[in-house]
Symmetry: C2
Subunit: 370 residues, 2 copies
C-alpha cells in the first residue's frame, strides 16, 4: 500500500492538495462552481424577464465568494438571516444587505447601527418595539430601510393583517432615522397576492408609497410572477446550490445539484445494509420538507440505496435488493436533503469545476447565529 | 436607553465580557460546570460501584476541559467518534483514546498511525479490511488495541453473530501490529447479554482472552449492570450535560441539565404564538428519540410553551393558553433535545458556575467529521 501525500496538522485537520475531487478524504462537502453559476444565471434570467429584483439569500452558502457571483450576475443585493452573517458579508465588501430577521435587544441594535455605518442596510420587523429600538441607536436622519414583515399564511413572524401592516408602516414612516421600504413575507403562499392587494389599497389611501413587496423561498420561485403578481423582489437562497428537496419538487435536475457529500462505505454488516460515514453531524437531521419521504439524501451512484436513518456520524442505508456492491471502502456521493443545513455544519467546503482542483474554502459565515 | 459595553469585532463575532449569564447576547449556549461535575461524579460512582470502567465519550461536549474532568474523576479514558476529535483531544494532552468508529481508507489509517505514536490508542472494526489496512500503517509490533464491533440488536455496524466475532477476533489476534482487546457494542439492548455470553464461550473454546466487553449509550446506562452483566466498560457521553431526552427518560432532573440555550422572544404575532431566536441552526432538528413527542425543547420559564416547529433561525412556539407573556424582548431558557447536536453547531459555548462569570470557550472538536 502506498502512503498518500498527506500533511497532518491536527489543529487544522488534515491538509491535502488533491488534484481531483475523487481524491478527497471523506466525508467532504463539494460545490461545483459550474453548476452554481448555471443556477444563479437561470434564476437571474427568470427575475429579469418578470421585472423582479433578485435578492440572494446567503444563508444557503454562507460564502462571500458565491454572494459576489450573485451580485455580479445582477442581484439587487443579498439577504442575511442573522447579523453575524451580515457582518461577514460586509467585511467581504458586499454593500447592499437586507437583514431578514427581527432585531430585538440593545446589543443587536447597537451592532446593526455599526453595520449601517458601512453598508446600505435594510431591516425588517413586525413591531414598533423593533423600529423604535433600532432607531434609538441610529443617527437622527437615517438611511436604514425598514420593511414590515407580514404573515401572509405561513404562520411564523409578521403582522397578521393588512391594517396592522399599515399601522406599523405609518409608524416607521414617521421615524426620521428609518426609511419605510415596503412589505415582506416568507414564503409566498398564493394567499399572499390578495393579502398584499388589500395592504396596498390601505397604504394608497394613507398616501404612503410601498416601494418594495418582497417575497421569499426557492420552492415554487419560478411561478412567483403568477402566484404573487404584486411582488417586486424575490429572495432566494437554495436555488444556487440545489438539494434533494429541490430535486423532489422538480426544480433542479441531478446535474444542477452543485452541493454533494462524498462519503465512504465503512461497514457492510449484511447483504442489504450499508453504513456510510455521513451522519446527522455531516448532513443534519433535516428531512426534505413538504415532499418528505423520510429519507436523508439521494445516492448518485446507487439510486436504489435508501438512506433510512442517521446516527451522529453514521448513515444507515438499505439496498432494495441484497448486493455485494457497494463494498466497504467504496466512495459514494450524496445529494443532501437541505443544502443550507449542510453549509452550516462544515467549517470548510471544496469548490471545484468538473471535479478538478478542489479548493478548500472556509465557510466564513457558518455558525453565525447571533 | 443605555448602550451596553460592547466591542464588536465582526470577524470574531461580538465580544462581551458580561459578569452574568443573564447578560449574554442570544442565542447563546451555556454550560453549568457545577451540574457537569455533579453528573460526572454520579455516573462515575455508579460505574465504580459495579466494577465498570467508565469511558467518557467526548462527542457530547467536544471540549478537552470537560474530558479532563472526566479523567480526573476516574474515567479509564475517552471515546472519540471521529479521528479529528481524537486528534484534538490528543493535542490537549488526553492520553487514553478509544476511537469508536470504523476506520476505512489509507488516509484514515495513516492519520491513526500518527495518532498511535503519541497516545494510547484503541480502535474498533467489523471487518478484516479495517484490521489489516490499519496494521499496514503501524509499526510491526504494535500497541494499538482493537475491539470487534458487534451488532447485538441495534442494526447499525458490527459483526452479526458471535461466530463472526470469533473469526475476526482470531484474525486480529494473529496480527502483530494489533492487540485484541475484546468486544464492543452500541447501544446495549437487553439481548446483548446473551449475545456476549455466546461469544465469550466461543472465545474461551478458542483460548483467546476477551479483556473488555464495552457497551455504550447514556439511555438506561444506570441499569447496565442488570441488563448486560458481562459488560466491563460503559461508554457514555450525554450524561455529562443532560438534555431533554434524558429528562424525558427520567435520568436527569431539570437541575442536572447543564446545557441551556438562552433565547430571545423576537415576535409575538398572536396571543398564543411565540417566536424565539433559536432555530435548527442553533438547536439542530433532532427530536428526543424514543420518547419523542415531536417537540424541539423544553422552556424552563414557561413549561406550557410548546416548541412545535423550527425554521433555520426561528423557533415556532405555541402557548397552550393565550397570554401576553412572554413578551417581545423577554429572554427564555431552553433545554435542547440533544446536547451532542447542539455542541456540534456552535463555535463557542459559555462555561459558568451558578450563572456567574461566563467564560467564552471554543468548542475545539466541533465539526471534526473526518
Amino acid at each position: 500500500m502506498v502512503v498518500p501525500q498527506i500533511n497532518v496538522t491536527s489543529q487544522q485537520g488534515p491538509t491535502l492538495a488533491p488534484s481531483r475531487v475523487d481524491e478527497l478524504e471523506t466525508p467532504a462537502v463539494t460545490i461545483d462552481l459550474d453548476a452554481v453559476e448555471c443556477n444563479i444565471e437561470r434564476m437571474q434570467a427568470y427575475c429579469d424577464s418578470h421585472g423582479l429584483g433578485l435578492r440572494a439569500h446567503v444563508k444557503t452558502h454562507k460564502l462571500p465568494r458565491v454572494a459576489a457571483v450573485q451580485i455580479d450576475r445582477g442581484a439587487v443585493g443579498v439577504a442575511c438571516q442573522k447579523l453575524g452573517e451580515a457582518e461577514v458579508m460586509a467585511d467581504a465588501g458586499i454593500e447592499r444587505i437586507l437583514l431578514t430577521y427581527p432585531l430585538v435587544g440593545e446589543i443587536k441594535w447597537a451592532r446593526a447601527a455599526r453595520l449601517a455605518s458601512r453598508v446600505q442596510l435594510s431591516v425588517i420587523g413586525d413591531s414598533q418595539l423593533i423600529a423604535r429600538g433600532l432607531a434609538s441607536f441610529l443617527p437622527p436622519t437615517g438611511s436604514v430601510g425598514f420593511l414590515v414583515e407580514c404573515d401572509t399564511g405561513f404562520g411564523r413572524a409578521g403582522v397578521q393583517t393588512p391594517s396592522e401592516a399599515l399601522e406599523l408602516g405609518r409608524a416607521v414612516a414617521a421615524i426620521p432615522a428609518l426609511r419605510f421600504d415596503g412589505l415582506l413575507t416568507h414564503p409566498a403562499p398564493s394567499a399572499a397576492q390578495s393579502w398584499f392587494a388589500a395592504a396596498v389599497r390601505l397604504f394608497a389611501e394613507a398616501r404612503i408609497e410601498v416601494p418594495t413587496i418582497s417575497v421569499g423561498g426557492t420552492p415554487h420561485a419560478y411561478r412567483v410572477h403568477e402566484r404573487v403578481a404584486l411582488a417586486t423582489e424575490l429572495r432566494v437562497g437554495v436555488y444556487a446550490y440545489g438539494d434533494r428537496a429541490c430535486m423532489l419538487r422538480g426544480e433542479h435536475a441531478l446535474a444542477d445539484c452543485a452541493m454533494r457529500v462524498r462519503t465512504t462505505v465503512v461497514s457492510r454488516p449484511t447483504p442489504s445494509r450499508v453504513i456510510l460515514d455521513a451522519g446527522s453531524k455531516t448532513l443534519s437531521s433535516d428531512l426534505a420538507n413538504s415532499t418528505d419521504d423520510g429519507l436523508f439524501g439521494f445516492v448518485v451512484e446507487h439510486p436504489d440505496l435508501r438512506l433510512a436513518a442517521l446516527s451522529e456520524e453514521h448513515c444507515h442505508a438499505e439496498l432494495t435488493r441484497p448486493s455485494a456492491a457497494p463494498a466497504v471502502g467504496d466512495i459514494v456521493t450524496l445529494i443532501p436533503n437541505h443544502a443550507c443545513a449542510v453549509s452550516n455544519l462544515h467549517d470548510h467546503v471544496y469548490l471545484h469545476r468538473g471535479g478538478k482542483l478542489p479548493e478548500h474554502v472556509r465557510v466564513a459565515a457558518r455558525g453565525r447565529v447571533q
